[in-house]
Subunit: 339 residues, 2 copies
DNA sequence: CCCCATTGTCGAAGCGCTTCGACGCTCTCA
DNA sequence: TGAGAGCGTCGAAGCGCTTCGACAATGGGG
């Protein structure tokens, strides 16, 4: 039971210097002689001093905390969100910031409250919709923010994301190289498209355009997430398009159901049909066969988001949009090179 | 762009009262006449006042923030963690607290830092191991804490969790009622047991003891999470135990692979073999067939953890261990009533 | 050799809030 | 009718930190 906490005053007394000197040693905002610095740091260590966060925030007008706003909605793949979240926390710590977790139940009010009370210095928002209700709020907030994902109108905002259009195209190109002439995209559940979730639509568009550009027949379909529905959809698709030889799956929750359904319909992967997924690596590796995939670089997205936010906090100007280049990893599900 | 934030002084001036009066209206810690209260609240509303969190924390020695410590380790099922996390946030908000997210990369130092700097008033820890390195730290921290999960020695701690032993037993009892004589448990990956994760072991024990108590032959096995490994394990199990007619699966990531493997081995569920899972409802419902399951009541666990923490913050004494009763939901995978 | 710039340190003034003690009222009851 | 008990409000003293201006002490250039 550590009694009352050690204050900067006690450190100053112990080191035989003024309180302000201790503060300057710790912040490095003024030159301090090597000797004094050493004495102060020794005292800090022996007393086990930790600056009081509230006092620091009050005096410096900086909380050293950023908010991570993650609404949890239907159709989002949770593990990916979690990867974003942890990478945001890790990156924030590297800038000596902590992360406050805000969820959807409070709605925009929660954001406003956290910002207005100076609880946080800035915000990172995840799972952004094309027409997100939080966006107008962000625009008239004094605190800077960064969005993971792109809304329809990015004017005045800062957004980061994987270049999903490119990702969709990349899958098509890979399949085109393998000689396929007819390909299909199994995407997110219909509700996700209806809601206007940017990354789903952009993948769809990237897929469609690339298919056209490479002279392939490409069909894109939403894809639900129960085994039954997936199996039915896959069955219909195989019946309707006998020439179909390759599949792009952009739905983490359904990807294993798709493989199960193909198995059930007697199609071997990759011999009868090749499959490319857009999903985290662990899912791709854990599937059977292991899936050629474009991964969501969650760790990098989170890191970039924090970096951009820190830049804004320092008053630097940052680009409105930052798109990360997708990379495709070839695994067993498209192992047959050429056909 | 809201300029500088509104302070309590401005509210006081606007309402024509003293600063302390505004404070008392807002905290309710002293009686205030109905008239004054109304005037103050009006001013608060028209000026859009939000108390400065840092100043409040400094003066009241209460940050109104709790830490949520979630190490992310191999073998943990992420969506469940996320459910815990959101329910903790929601519950905390109901007590007017916010949630600071702490992850593993800083290790115990992160916990110590957040506590010592008065960033947080208390802690909720998730994913607790039997011999968790964070536990000794918690014992000599001035700040109260609550663990989600039980370490080996709970003395001086406060722990909440689903009663996993009971959950394991419940599955066995359900299967016993259905007339099964030989049952198996497919559990977590081996590494989880080796690490000494309490809930996995306790389910295992509950399963084993209940099987013995009901005179069933019960075998328990770890279960990896790639389709290949699961399929192999299931195959061996079916070969080794021809009399096996029921399965308990306690592994969210593997549960669909298990169903896939049974399908592959020509076993129909529930006609040839019945399956009970311990997993979130959404997974159980999304499987084919829908699985009879004992769900992890993540929402309730999170809520209880916060409630206990708030009780401790108020100085109330709370029980060392709180075990939540599991409930079994019957679905299609054990629909055949009796055999 | 003197002046001025630089370096290192200090003291004090807040930052915006909570909380304590004080004080003037208005009632109540003897 | 006067003492005592609330009730409602105020002023002021911090909470622990950052930061600004001041000021010795030192050193370099004219």
């Amino acid at each position: 039971m550590s009694g009352r906490a050690v204050t900067i005053t006690e450190v100053a007394r112990h080191a035989g210097v003024a309180v302000s000197t201790v503060s300057y040693v710790l912040s490095g905002k003024r030159a301090i002689s090597a000797d004094t610095r050493r004495r102060v740091l020794d005292s800090v260590r022996t007393l086990g001093y930790h600056p009081n966060a509230g006092a620091r925030a009050l005096a410096s007008r900086r909380a050293n905390v950023i908010a991570l706003v993650l609404p949890l909605r239907v159709g989002m793949h949770v593990p990916v969100l979690m990867q974003f979240a942890t990478s945001v926390v890790t990156a924030a710590r590297q800038y000596d910031h902590d992360v406050l977790l805000l969820t959807a139940d409070e709605g925009p009010d929660g954001i406003r409250r956290a910002a207005a009370s100076a609880l946080v210095d800035g915000l990172v928002l995840m799972d952004v919709e094309l027409h997100d209700t939080r966006v107008p709020l962000l625009r008239d907030l004094a605190e800077p923010s960064v969005l993971i994902g792109f809304p329809a109108d990015t004017a005045g905002l800062t957004c980061v994301d994987l270049d999903f259009a490119r990702a969709g195209a990349l899958c098509v190109e890979h399949l085109a190289q393998h000689g396929h002439r007819e390909v299909a995209l199994l995407g997110a559940p219909a509700v996700v498209y209806e809601r206007g979730t940017g990354f789903a639509s952009r993948t769809w568009e990237g897929f469609t355009e690339a298919a056209a550009a490479h002279g392939l027949t490409g069909v894109a379909l939403p894809c639900e997430e129960t085994f039954e529905q997936v199996a039915a959809a896959v069955g219909e698709l195989l019946d309707a398009r006998p020439g179909l030889t390759a599949l792009v799956v952009h739905n983490e929750a359904a990807v294993n159901h798709v493989l199960g359904a193909l198995r059930q319909h007697g199609r071997r992967v990759p011999q009868d049909i090749e499959v490319v997924a857009i999903c985290p690596d662990d899912i791709a590796e854990r599937s059977s066969p292991a899936l050629t995939s474009v991964l969501i670089p969650a760790e990098e997205v989170g890191r970039q988001a924090v970096r951009l936010l820190m830049d804004k906090l320092e008053g630097r100007t940052v680009p409105e949009g930052t798109l990360l280049r997708p990379r495709l990893t070839v695994r067993d599900s498209t192992a047959a090179s050429g056909r």
